[in-house]
Amino acid sequence: MVGVKKKMVTLVSSDGVEFVVEKRVAEQSLFIKNALNEGGVEEKVMIPIPKVTSDTLSSVLEYCEKHASATEFQENEIEEWDKEYIEKADLDLLYYLLQASYSMSIMGLMELGAKKVASLIRGKSPQEIRELFNIKNDFTPEQEEEIRREMQWNYE
């Protein structure tokens, strides 16, 4: 069996699903890498990933797997893969991926997600942003106007 020699770890999502993955894949997350180093335990490691559901974790691990073997690919191949990967995530998944990458400290994924969100919202009006993210406008029209004015004095 191929897997015998490989070191495996088990990640447990917030809804209790276990994911058995290679250590080098899991270590794409600095959070897990640190946890493994601190623990010092080599075998049968179980790491709970709080706040990350199984759906999200499975998508996160897809990213980690690709990037753990990044050296096997050309640089632009990875770039293309990243592009496709983040493109197919809908807004909800994108949101959960960003949160997961933040709490699991996966810098590459966080950057990828942040870029995607930035590209979704640049050029939009405040109202479009509110609709996109379901944000309630808690300003009165007067307050909103005041902010608009205020922003102009920044240079003075």
Binding site: I121, K124, P126, N134, I135, M151, Y155
Partner: protein, 372 residues
């Protein structure tokens, strides 16, 4: 999965939200302060502010040496806006691997267009042309620039529309010397898009644009590049390459060396006549209808301390004026009338132009990225 009562601003950690904000153009950011109280107060925090690009990071100032005994040539200075931590911007442009000195020709929403100085102290037809982002230290070399020394090269980039940029090469017919004003009976147009990486030639009606200022200021607005010519504002629609002209608010207005700018999606024109300054706004783009928004006489500037209108602020009702014999640059808010000293410029220099620079840290189409 559904973000049930998902307020992104509340549920995202602040760091993550700041990271997203930092990738947005300054223009979007100032608008987004109106989204909600949570976003507004986050953006007002000093930590967040230090991470976000300001509407204006500083300006590049080009001048021509006039000292006796010194070979005439272009010199370039960068003045950062005081409260922005300017270390974030590499205005020296040394991250571009060119052994030659670089001069900024055009600035557009965070990107710069630069030319190398070869044998002479002016950009020439053999200059290499680069587009770069001094905030992310990324750059790209533009191929096959068929430019003669007096042609005008304009950069158009709006990250709110696309990460791609366009170069507009205005090739003047009959011309005397760069960068002095000369008569010309028209121009040909070439455009370069970072999307296709090629130059495209376009025909331009002859009656457009006769004679030109060194296009020290141009405005990229609604997909159009605008610049001043002797007899009006030349407008180039980048998608279709169709050109037309907008008449000035009053005849011969351009001869007074006005500047173009924009505010809230409208084109602005500021012009000086003796001690008076007028700010005009193009309120009806289709019908070329101008409205005078401000008329102010600076009584305290006398004959010996004249002033010049230099540039508009990219995101506020502010113009920059060069004032007096001591060559000071002041900001003047033409809504509330407040005036403030920005900096002192160098003496013994003839001022060529002032290029307002806004930093941008988001996505762009530059080829060579540098990890900062």
């Amino acid at each position: 999965m559904e973000i049930a009562n998902g307020d992104l601003a509340r549920r995202f950690p602040d760091d993550l939200l700041i990271d997203i904000f930092s990738r947005l153009p300054a223009k979007s950011l100032s608008r987004f302060r109106c989204v909600s109280k949570a976003w507004s107060s986050l953006m007002a925090e000093p930590y967040c502010r230090s991470k976000l690009p300001p509407a204006m990071a500083g300006f590049f100032f080009l001048s021509e040496t006039r000292d006796y005994g010194v070979r005439p040539g272009i010199q370039q200075f960068y003045f950062p806006v005081p409260d922005y931590h300017s270390a974030a911007i590499d205005a020296s442009l040394r991250f571009i691997p060119s052994p030659k000195k670089l001069i900024v020709l055009s600035s557009s929403n965070g990107l710069l267009l630069c030319a190398t100085l070869n044998h002479s102290s002016y950009p020439s037809s053999s200059s290499d042309i680069y587009v770069c982002n001094p905030a992310t230290r990324s750059w790209t070399l533009i191929p096959n620039v068929a430019r003669s020394s007096h042609d005008s090269l304009i950069l158009a980039f709006d990250p709110e529309i696309s990460p791609h940029f366009t170069l507009v090469l205005v090739k003047w017919r009959t011309i005397q010397r760069w960068p002095i004003i000369v008569e010309s009976d028209g121009f040909e147009l070439e455009t370069f898009s970072s999307r296709t990486n090629t130059w495209v030639n376009s025909q331009v009606p002859r009656e457009l644009g006769c004679g030109i200022h060194f296009p020290k200021c141009h405005v990229y607005l609604n997909g159009n590049v605008h610049f001043l010519s002797y007899n009006g504002i030349v407008v180039i629609h980048l998608e279709s390459k169709v050109c037309h002209k907008i008449e000035m608010p009053f005849p011969a207005a351009t001869r007074n060396y006005g500047v173009l700018g924009m505010s809230c999606g409208s084109l602005l024109y500021a012009v000086r006549a003796k001690r008076e300054m007028q700010v005009w706004m193009l309120t009806d783009y289709e019908k070329h209808k101008w409205v005078m928004r401000k008329r102010v006489v600076f009584e305290f500037f006398n004959l010996f301390s004249r002033f010049d209108v230099f540039a508009f602020h990219p995101d506020a009702d502010i113009v920059f004026l060069k004032v007096g014999r001591r060559e000071e640059l002041v900001s003047y808010n033409w809504i509330n009338g407040r005036m403030k000293l920005v900096c002192s410029l160098r003496n013994n220099m003839s001022k060529l132009c002032l290029l307002v620079f806004s930093s941008y840290l988001g996505e762009d189409a530059l080829e060579h990225k540098n990890c900062v």
